[in-house]
């Protein structure tokens, strides 16, 4: 199995209008920048993005917003922390204008909905969000003496993920906190596309240390290791 593709444009070629696209990365760490840029070039519309944040540390996703490609986001920390930075941000402006719909989830629920999707579960009961606005319209159920909230799985159509090393079969190893959402998004999506810093041959990754088994990955693109200054 050789899942290597030779360009970011080829990697995202079948993403369609209206697709649900999960994008890995936690602020600056572990974001598949070149795949997001290719998605902007491709220009498909009405996208639902499943992504930690829109803006902070992630200027490339703002290009998708500026292009008018984003219909909805499912996020946990969508906005700039600072109100002044936020006021200038095209995403915030479009949210206030009701041009983009935002679903905000607790970070643990956000992850777990993806994890459930990847693991073939329909839904789960979590204690997080009970008694808050997150619980609106959702079932509350008591187990033991505690209330839990029913949350359903997310199965994105596509996931754009990032890893430090990957082999041709799609096995991925992430590095430090750049791992973050990438493994669970890779497992949850129907079609997962991985940007890897270093492409290696099968057999060169220690099988005990693989974070994303190749079965979850449809395409692998080598992007090299960029150098940047982390922080917001």
């Amino acid at each position: 199995m050789d899942k290597v593709v030779s360009s970011a444009d080829e990697a995202v070629a079948d993403i369609f209008d209206g697709a649900i696209v999960a994008i890995g990365g936690f602020f600056t760490a572990g974001t598949p920048t070149s795949l997001i840029q290719a998605l902007a070039r491709k220009g498909c519309k009405d996208l639902t993005l499943v992504i930690m944040t829109m803006g902070p540390g992630n200027p490339d996703v703002l290009q998708l917003v500026l292009n008018g490609q984003v219909k909805k986001t499912i996020s946990n920390y969508p906005f700039y922390r600072s109100a002044s930075q936020g006021a200038d941000c095209c995403f915030e402006i479009m949210v206030r204008a009701e041009l983009i719909e935002v679903e905000t989830l607790p970070m643990g629920t956000f992850c777990e909905k993806l994890r459930a999707g990847g693991a073939g579960l329909a839904a789960f009961y979590t204690p997080t969000g009970v008694g808050t606005v997150v619980a609106r319209g959702k079932e509350i159920r008591k187990f033991g003496d505690r209330d839990y909230l029913l949350e359903t799985a997310i199965r994105p159509d596509f996931a754009l993920v990032y890893a430090h090393k990957g082999d041709r079969m799609g096995n991925l190893i992430c590095r430090k906190t750049a791992r973050n959402f990438n493994p669970d998004m890779a497992a949850a999506a129907e079609c997962t596309i991985a940007a890897v810093e270093y492409l290696v041959e099968p057999g060169q990754l220690d099988p005990d240390t693989v974070h994303v088994p190749g079965i979850f990955v449809k395409r692998v693109l080598e992007v090299g290791r960029p150098s940047y200054v982390p922080g917001l």
């Binding site: 902070p56 969508p78 970070m107 750049a178």
Partner: protein, 226 residues
Amino acid sequence: MATRFKGLSRELMAMRVANELKDGTYVNLGIGIPTLVSDWIEGRDIVLQSEIGMLNTGPLASQENVDQDLINASCQPVTERPGSAYISTADSFGMIRGGRMDVAVLGALQVSEKGDLASWANPERGFPEGVGNIGGSMDLAVGAKRVIATMIHTTTKGEAKIVKNCGYALTAEKCVDLILTDLALIEVTPEGLVLKEIAAGLTAEDVQSVTEPKLIIAPDLCEFRL
């Protein structure tokens, strides 16, 4: 507009929180004042968790040892300590909800007398209801064995932030165990809020005057133990 009392600096607030932490425990520090707590526990046997997916997070990185793949949940470059471990964010929150955090120190916008916490949605930002930066706050508030809420005692307009009922969107109900402000240390108990320590030069009446619910004065009320 209420009188603005002079209390602890943010740094000393962080120091006071650090004194609450016990050796041999696992602690998560939220954004803002809580982040500063890490400066006061260096060399102690406390393991910090970053909800991004790291256990045993070390101090902030200095310019020369920044690793672009190593940040905390506030996106600050940090360092490893011996015995660190990386996990996925999903596993990190499993750990948090599963009750493995001995203490979470969280920033707050309001805390109610029942210990309800409001920390993520400032109505001044003007977002639609339910929209905002929830981040990891709800999971931490629900999952940690002990929640310490830190905040400046009043708003910039002098309004009480310790209130009978939170007017801001909740993070979680009845989750706060201890409130640390620049003016006071207050324990949340079934009987109500117990005022235990206050800033030098202030009286219990001073603190009560900027606090909405009636405070119970601890028999051993004292100045901040720093």
